[in-house]
């Protein structure tokens, strides 16, 4: 068995065990309704986590995504309120803005040789600030298109609802999996995460790949903002504070190495679902307080990081002995 796959298997096993525990306590948990809600409630987090997976696989980090989601919501709400544009061209405009924003951050990181941490931190301030400039109040979105999207769903067997935004998340994950594991760009991302110098020597276009990675993260943060606006029917500049942390946590729980170079987009989906499951469990239980979510996620993070550390140590040691022979 490939040791690289272990964190991914561990994530899947933990998810199944957690779901089994939930099912034993609350048999109603195993219904398509709960699964449908799990997908809908975590759609925006899942989409942004796909972008974060690529960034982390390349050895970087993107702290700006939470602010970009908030900016997207406010931008859509203000555009729909103040102009008579249809939501679809507004979406296209928004996605090009956030993609360019991400690309600009990637360019800054590469051209100035600055740590991604600091550059995306500035991006985080900038995006949140632009959201404030557009509107400090919560702006409601009222549009027939929004009502249509929100009321459209596919009735799964067992009366569970797979909403458009839940389905959108699954599509983004599918595209992300193909992009990461089946294309040249994906290979370049992995190579970059293994070591910039090595990647450059192997002929990976470092500049182009870095810009594209952050552009992709910006694009998906914008898409996540659109999904979040469908979810809440409003744009609010103080929304989604700290979502970047949730996304990073989902990626790590999903078995991706925070140092980059190793991981799976599919694992991130399980990571997001585990985090959603904890919240669902707390809702079902009713007596537990919401702060247990953070503590459990922290404990899971610790478990996965220590597991990965152990695996890296093991594979490193075996590689060392192999080299010795």
């Amino acid at each position: 068995m490939n040791a690289r796959m272990l964190p991914f298997y561990a994530t899947v096993v933990i998810f199944l065990i957690a779901y089994a525990i939930c099912y034993i306590q609350f048999p109603a948990m195993l219904s398509t309704r709960v699964i449908g809600n799990l997908l809908t409630d975590n759609a925006f987090l899942g989409i942004v986590a796909v972008g974060m997976t690529f960034v982390i696989l390349s050895g970087g980090i993107d702290l700006s995504v939470g602010s970009v989601i908030a900016f997207s919501g406010v931008f859509i709400a203000v555009m729909l309120r103040d102009t008579s544009m249809h939501p679809l061209p507004v979406f296209a405009l928004l996605l090009s803005i956030t993609t360019l924003f991400g690309a600009a951050m990637g360019l800054t990181i590469h051209a100035l040789q600055m740590p991604p941490f600091i550059v995306t931190l500035a991006g985080m301030f900038l995006a949140r600030g632009m959201a404030y400039v557009l509107s400090v109040d919560s702006v409601p979105i009222v549009h027939p298109f929004y009502e249509w999207v929100q009321s459209t769903y596919w009735l799964m067997p067992g009366k569970g609802r797979l909403t458009l935004i839940g389905g959108m998340m699954l599509l983004v994950f599918l595209a992300g999996i193909l992009l990461a594991h089946r294309t040249r760009f994906g290979t370049n991302v992995f190579a970059l995460g293994g070591g910039v110098q090595t990647a450059r020597l192997m002929g990976v276009p470092v500049a182009r790949t870095t810009v594209l990675i952050y552009a992709l993260s910006g694009l998906l943060a914008g898409l996540s903002g659109i999904v979040f606006s469908f979810y809440t029917s409003a744009g609010y500049s103080l929304a989604t504070v700290g979502v970047e942390l949730d996304a990073i946590a989902a990626v790590v729980i999903g078995g991706t190495l925070l140092t980059g170079g190793s991981g799976f987009v599919a694992g991130t989906l399980i990571g997001v679902l585990i985090m959603g499951l904890i919240q669902t469990y707390i809702t079902f239980d009713g007596t537990l307080s919401s702060w247990w979510t953070k503590i459990v996620i922290g404990a899971l993070l610790l478990g996965f990081i220590v597991l990965q550390k152990g695996l890296v140590g093991l594979t490193g040691r075996s590689a060392g002995t192999a080299g010795g022979r």
Binding site: Q113, I118, A122, G129, V133, S289, W291, K294, L301, K309
Partner: protein
């Protein structure tokens, strides 16, 4: 004499940046530098900057040392929330002020110990190791306050946030003395050099006989202690502990202060004074935007632009280009 010159050259860019920021504010708002003495303390916008900058300045002290070892401490904001919550709940539970302070500071040290052990003993990357406490810490703080904003009326504790000492607000005295104490500790002993050695090359420093493991744990504990002090000050200032918002994003401001202070995120040489000036620059920008009468909505945008300008000026790539340029000029 030589040492003084070197020190001045090291902090010159930070002092120049601070001077430019302050002059700009003074230009927009002429009464900015007015100081008055009333009720046993100084009043005025500059004092206000020193006072409001206290939490970030305290965090920057610990963060500078952590970054000098090549690490980073993302958990300080959450540790602030934990320690503020513990201070507030201990004082409302009827413990005396000394016991309360000991418990809160002890919690900060314990958080630092946890981070330090994960980094130095288990060997996890600092950014990942401290991320755990950053995520879980706010949950723990909410566990302590049971989800409410815990208020208290103890004047002794409130004094730490809003009292006066030696004609200055207490938080200013606290961060100035903490800064002086840590500076003396690392610069009048070999400690500072050892920290830099670990930051430059941990393996080499260990081979040279530095107890890197102990040193790393200690540095993270100092960071936890500084965060605890900042948390107590913030809780004392509003006479209550807000587990959700206390210290929110202050870890980012603290890291920014260290970076503006010209310290490399890769570790190695560091200057505490420059970091502290960096913290005051950040607070001056915040206060300046307010007194200059910009709409508060623009606060973050202006801050982002200033950060970008400072980063571009300090960027290694630009410096590299500068070196090339001067080299090219010299070669013919």
């Amino acid at each position: 004499m030589n040492g003084t010159m070197r020190f001045l050259r090291r902090v010159a860019p930070q002092i120049a940046t601070l001077a430019v920021v302050l002059l700009l504010i003074g230009f927009v708002f002429p009464g900015f530098f007015d100081l008055s003495f009333a009720n046993g303390r100084l009043y005025g916008s500059p004092i206000d900057i020193l006072n409001r900058g206290a939490p970030v300045a305290l965090l920057a002290i610990g963060m500078t040392l952590v970054i000098a070892t090549g690490g980073i401490d993302l958990s300080v904001g959450a540790v602030m929330a934990i320690c503020g919550a513990i201070a507030a709940s201990a004082i409302t539970a009827g413990y005396g002020l000394p016991a309360t302070l000991l418990m809160a500071l002890g919690a900060g040290l314990a958080c630092g110990l946890w981070n330090g052990v994960l980094v130095a003993v288990v060997g996890i990357q600092p950014i990942v190791a401290t991320l755990i406490l950053m995520v879980a810490g706010r949950g723990i703080a909410q566990l302590v306050t049971e989800g409410t904003i815990l208020t208290f009326t103890n004047d002794g504790l409130a004094f730490l946030g809003s009292g006066n000492l030696l004609g200055l607000p207490t938080p200013v005295v606290i961060w100035l003395s903490m800064g002086a104490l840590v500076t003396l500790l690392v610069r009048r002993t070999a400690l500072g050099m050892l920290i830099e050695a670990v930051g430059v090359n941990r393996r080499a420093s260990m081979l040279a006989g530095v107890n890197a493991r102990l040193l790393l744990v200690t540095v993270y504990m100092v960071s936890g202690l500084c965060a605890a002090m900042a948390g107590i000050i913030v809780a004392a200032d509003i006479r209550g502990a807000d587990a959700n918002n206390a210290g929110l994003f202050l870890e980012l401001d603290a890291i920014l202060a260290v970076v503006i202070g010209g310290n490399s995120l890769l570790g190695g040489g560091f200057s505490l004074v420059a970091s502290l000036i960096g913290a005051i620059i950040i607070q001056s920008v915040n206060t300046g935007i307010l007194v200059a009468g910009f709409p508060p909505e623009f606060n973050l945008v202006i801050k982002a632009v200033i950060v970008l300008v400072i980063l571009v000026v300090q960027s290694p790539a630009i410096h590299g280009a500068g070196v090339l340029f001067s080299f090219a000029r010299r070669s013919p």
